[in-house]
């Protein structure tokens, strides 16, 4: 059984201590209604569609890490792997909405959906228009695309919606930009070790020596198989095959690649994996437009990675992905 070793204070203060540290280090963000978990951009742009995300703590830089220039405007912060409350989402929305409506953009998880829907109903009462869309890119989580979990691929939805909003798009257009990214993104992930929720103090499951879980979710949801650890080349091959089985990308078409570390995997390993993925795409004549490597959606100290492919549907999407952004956790020039 793995021992919990974390740099923290009392486990029950994990989330709020983290938030205090983030606010202290970054004047670009602030909190609303005296609630640390109502995370907002400090200066909003009047007339811009406000994009709000939310979800559990434990996935940095997901979700709050994308609040910043040309990306997202606010985030409801839940407990570790828990949903934020409807009230927190409402408070964030009221703080950051700028007269052009609100897009709720978050991951496909039941608790989050219930709370975001409730928040939308309350905001509607106050004549704040909302639209909602969830990321559901984890192909191995379910055969039915509407049930799939949202994982690292939401990054592309944030980029496209964020760019469209920054460029003056209205709520319908910003939603459409997010939808286009969603339609063209798929992810496969795998874990080598579990993670530990601070207040629980031990992992919820075990992976034996030399064992990995293919298709595991970012909250430790079981994968499609547990078995011996495969090589980077094998994992790249299996993952790219699963993705292309689900989403056709023709030879000559372009994709962006996202190699995402789950929290405890070194950059060395991520680049090895990235090289393997590149080879799989080259062999199929699929052009790689951009490669993103790093931590985009983690699971605390889980070792493992996910591979996302985002098919470039058109020039507009390409420009949106290229648009420079600046948040406390992610900067793209």
């Amino acid at each position: 059984m793995i021992d919990m070793k974390k740099i923290m204070n009392a486990p029950e203060n994990y989330v709020d201590d983290m938030l205090r540290g983030i606010y202290a280090a970054n004047p670009m963000v602030k909190y609303a209604e005296d609630d640390l978990r109502c995370y907002c951009i400090a200066e909003k742009r009047p007339g811009k569609v406000a994009i709000i995300t939310g979800g559990g703590t434990g996935h940095l830089p997901l979700f709050l890490g994308y609040v910043g220039e040309n990306m997202i405007d606010g985030c409801g912060v839940g407990g570790v792997f828990q949903s934020p409350s409807a009230e927190q989402i409402v408070n964030v929305a009221k703080e950051v909405e700028a007269g052009a409506g609100v897009l709720f953009l978050y991951g496909n998880y039941t608790g989050d959906i219930m709370n975001f829907d409730m928040a939308a109903e309350i905001l509607e009462m106050d004549d704040i228009q909302t639209a909602s869309i969830v990321g559901a890119d984890d192909v191995l989580s379910h055969a039915d695309p509407s049930v799939r979990r949202g994982v690292a691929g939401i990054f592309f939805m944030y980029k496209c919606a964020g760019a469209k909003a920054a460029d003056g798009g209205d709520l319908e257009e910003v939603l459409a930009a997010a939808q286009k990214a969603k339609d063209n993104t798929r992810t496969v992930g795998f874990a080598l070790t579990p993670c530990i929720i601070p207040e629980i103090g031990h992992p919820n499951f075990e992976l034996k020596d030399g064992e990995m879980a293919f298709g595991m979710g970012i909250h430790g949801e079981p994968g499609v198989w547990n078995g011996p650890i495969k090589t980077a080349d094998e994992l790249a091959k299996d993952s790219v095959e699963e993705i292309l089985d689900d989403m056709e990308v023709k030879a000559g078409e372009e994709v962006c690649v996202l190699i995402n570390g789950l929290g405890a995997t070194s950059q060395e390993e991520l680049y090895i994996l990235s090289g393997s993925v590149r080879k799989e795409l080259d062999d199929r004549g699929i052009k790689t437009y951009r490669t993103f490597v790093g931590e985009y959606a983690t699971s605390m100290e889980m070792a493992g990675a996910s591979i996302s492919l985002c098919r470039i549907a058109d020039e507009e999407m390409k420009k949106q992905i290229d648009k420079p952004v600046h948040t406390p956790f992610y900067t793209q020039v």
Binding site: M118, A119, I122
Partner: protein, 213 residues
């Protein structure tokens, strides 16, 4: 003393009665839930409805019961974020929404509130009649209430009709097989036993009727 209408300022007191009933039935609901779930239903209902009166007091909006109930429901969901807590909150929100534009709650408004409550549960819970849930009590209750209201019944009589509908609903759940929640795992034990979520729905109506009478 029977009343003919409920004003927005009275909503906290209305739900004090509901909280009272849930406090009285806390043990019973926990016991029922222990057999077919995780044993905390009584605690959740007491906690949620126990907090609701104060939430409503802090969000008083004279002449706007709709807004009070919608906000109250939303804030209650933060207090009891479990499935049943969320369903009750959703019921309150949709019930409140039905009262949009009305300044007080008379006989027909009360029926509409119950109609909305049932709708809210159905929408959020994605359940239907026969699934052996709280919806199987709220749906017949709202139907009975609407029937009475259309016939011109007084507020107390509409509420009494709702309770009758609720009681029939609870009885009917004895023969249903659970599809949702932790009860679904205990499907084999379900026959002949009232569903605990349904009983909780009946408690809600009992509490409302208690204030109205």
């Amino acid at each position: 003393m029977a009343i003919t209408e409920i004003k927005a300022e009275e909503l906290p007191a209305l739900f004090e009665s509901v909280a009272e009933v849930f406090e009285e039935k806390k043990e019973l609901l926990c016991q029922m839930d222990a057999a077919m779930g995780d044993g905390d239903l009584g605690l959740t209902m007491s906690k949620g409805y126990g907090a609701l009166p104060q939430i409503l007091r802090e969000n008083l909006d004279a002449d706007n019961p709709a807004k009070m109930l919608m906000k109250g429901g939303m804030k209650m969901s933060g207090v009891v974020p479990s499935t049943m807590g969320t369903l009750m909150s959703s019921g309150l929100m949709q019930g409140g929404k039905m009262l949009n534009g009305r300044k007080t709650i008379g006989a027909s408004e009360f029926a509409d509130f119950l109609t909305g409550f049932a709708e809210g549960i159905k929408k959020r819970g994605k359940c239907d009649a026969g699934d052996r849930t709280i919806y199987d009590v709220l749906e017949p209750a709202q139907k009975a209430a609407q029937q009475a209201a259309s016939a011109g019944a007084s507020l107390p009589d509409v509420a009494a009709a709702a309770l009758q509908g609720a009681e029939a609903g609870v009885e009917a759940t004895k023969e249903m097989i659970p599809r949702f929640g932790k009860a679904a795992v205990h499907a084999a034990k379900a026959k002949g036993v009232e569903d605990q979520g349904a009983v909780a729905g009946k408690c809600l109506i009992e509490g409302l009727l208690r204030y109205i009478n």
